[in-house]
């Protein structure tokens, strides 16, 4: 029996096939939800917990930042208020960077699948 000729299945391919393959692999790994269980390995439990906590903080930070952007767009804030909020967010982001570095986590580690809303990042 001959294996099916998969080349015959290709009707139209514009550009390099590898580009499509790369994106499909990326799409497959992009939507990893929170792990089904937390790794309770004593060596790594601290990092696992830090990841969970920092992810939640990052979610709240982004929600608050979006809220602030909406209020700026709405024009309900004075320049001083914007400046004060901006400084807070700026420092919070810097602090998050320090904490991530401390626990050896990258920005992508704090991603979260929000179901139908897509990914956090």
């Amino acid at each position: 029996m001959n294996p099916p000729a998969f080349e015959d299945k290709l009707h139209l391919a514009v550009g390099n096939l590898c580009d499509f393959q790369e994106e499909m692999e990326r799409a497959g790994s992009a939507t990893t939800p929170l792990p089904a269980r937390i790794n309770a390995d004593p060596e790594r439990v601290e990092q696992g917990l830090a990841k969970l906590v920092l992810t939640l903080i990052e979610l709240l930070r982004q929600l608050m930042e979006k809220q602030a952007l909406r209020r700026i767009e709405g024009g309900s804030l004075t320049s001083e208020e914007i400046e004060r909020m901006g400084l807070t967010f700026l420092r919070l982001e810097a602090k998050m960077g320090e904490l991530r570095a401390h626990f050896g986590l990258s920005e992508a580690d704090l991603n979260l699948s929000l179901g139908p809303l897509g990914d956090l990042m």
């Binding site: 029996m1 294996p3 099916p4 299945k9 290709l10 009707h11 139209l12 391919a13 514009v14 550009g15 096939l17 580009d19 499509f20 994106e23 499909m24 990326r26 799409a27 992009a30 939507t31 930042e65 979006k66 602030a68 952007l69 700026i72 767009e73 320049s79 914007i82 400046e83 004060r84 909020m85 901006g86 400084l87 807070t88 967010f89 700026l90 897509g118």
Partner: protein
């Protein structure tokens, strides 16, 4: 206990498979019928088969060969059922859903379409600050206005993408029976779609995609098929079958 490896659910009255079609492990592929339905199976060891390209290709070849002789509800690679009685009770239990799905898929095939665009990966604009921003603005205001600009840019890109997807759908919808769309799966993968197309309209559908390509809106298309309608067949209900885990340890759910 003897296990059955299942390729799909078909109608019991159908064109026979070509005799040279062999299943996994070189085993003969045959039907276990129950009334109008039948399971397309081959005998298998209880530990199943490792998930490697050779086995996956063999699975695909059997499903594709079966597709030529009538509608099939393809089952994904790696599904084992127990003895003959277990297979029959599975057919019996879900007979209504299987019959409806086979009816719906008769004479229809699945076509896959992937669309890449480069707008999603355009280099980020460094400076989003509005031109009328007070030059004396402090770091806090600069930060928030920068974020606002970034957000507006990505929103504009998303709206443009939605418009492109909409125009693809408008062109292809009249040529298809059903579709599943995944939008913006990655910044570059604008659309990952599967279409259910009747065989008579297959050429028209392919020409429709070619016309889209000729519009030349900077999109790159990958059109493939005809495939068995994996995206449009109801999967085996959970509990009906055992799926091999990566470790090859059989577990009955």
């Amino acid at each position: 206990m003897q296990s059955h490896y299942i390729y799909g659910v078909v109608e019991s009255q159908r064109h026979p498979l070509a005799p040279d079609i062999r299943g996994l492990g070189g085993m003969p592929v045959y039907l276990i019928p129950w009334r109008t339905l039948a399971a397309l199976v081959s005998d298998a060891p209880t530990e199943g088969y490792p998930a490697d390209p050779a086995h996956a290709t063999c699975h695909a070849a059997v499903v594709e060969a079966a597709m030529e002789g009538g509608p099939i509800l393809p089952v994904r690679f790696g599904t084992l059922l127990g003895g003959t009685r277990r297979v029959i009770s599975m057919l019996e239990e879900h007979s209504t859903a299987f019959e409806e799905s086979l009816q719906r898929l008769r004479g229809r095939v699945e076509m896959g379409l992937k669309v890449l665009w480069e707008a999603g990966v355009a280099p980020p604009v460094e400076d989003h600050l509005p031109s009328d921003l007070d030059p004396s603005a402090g770091p806090g205001r600069r930060y928030l206005f920068q974020r606002l600009g970034e957000e507006q840019t990505s929103e504009a890109i998303r709206v443009r993408g939605e418009g492109l997807i909409q125009s693809i759908q408008t062109a292809l919808d009249p040529l298809t029976e059903a579709s599943t769309l995944r939008r913006f799966a990655t910044p570059r993968l604008l659309l990952d779609a599967a279409y259910l197309v009747s065989r008579e309209r297959l050429d028209m559908f392919c020409q429709g995609v070619e016309r889209l390509e000729e519009r030349g809106s900077g999109l790159r298309y990958l059109l493939s098929g005809p495939w068995p309608p994996y995206s449009f067949a109801h999967p085996l209900p959970s509990g009906a079958a055992m799926t091999l885990s990566d470790t090859q340890t059989p577990r009955w759910s």
